[in-house]
Symmetry: C2
Subunit: 98 residues, 2 copies
């Protein structure tokens, strides 16, 4: 199991729309092969900042299977128009917890 962390900013005035978009998009990514679970977060000090934590069986399930597969456009369609700047997307291994 590996963890995708995506840090994504909303355009000014679009934080509420982005939150609703992520909430709707979660049902799309949950259908992907290798998806294990997710928690989506919105910043308290900075409500324009969102952080998605998504568990996958492997980096390949995320980067090839999902991002190059048929679900990606549907997923991104729920929030892509609200993104400000380039998302910061990378992968992590769990070293302690839960």
């Amino acid at each position: 199991m590996i963890v995708e962390i995506a840090i994504i900013r909303a355009k000014p005035g679009q934080a509420d729309a982005m939150r609703q978009g992520f909430q709707a998009a979660r049902a799309v990514i949950a259908q992907a092969k290798g998806y294990r679970g997710s928690v989506f977060h919105q910043g308290i000090e900075d409500p324009q900042r969102f952080l998605l934590r998504i568990e996958w069986d492997s980096v390949e399930d995320h980067m090839q299977g999902f991002r190059e597969g048929p679900l990606f456009a549907q997923w991104r369609g729920h929030f892509g128009q609200y993104i400000d700047g380039a998302p910061d997307v990378s992968h992590f291994e769990v070293i302690a917890g839960p």
Copy 2:
């Protein structure tokens, strides 16, 4: 419940020491009032990058109770010497999941 996210970089050559430091430090923070649980991560593409996800009852339990309390020096002593640059520490609410 709120979520602290801390993104912390290790100095060059210190990633292994920092990983071990975080693993040891987790037993310290687990004693804090308002602590609910945590998962610690290390970057796959960038092993110098660590991300701590820590659940607290409230922002105040983290910022006042823990950071200004007696456990903080012991916690930080396990990894503070390996930190490169300024950690990025902020708080989030969960908007979807788990």
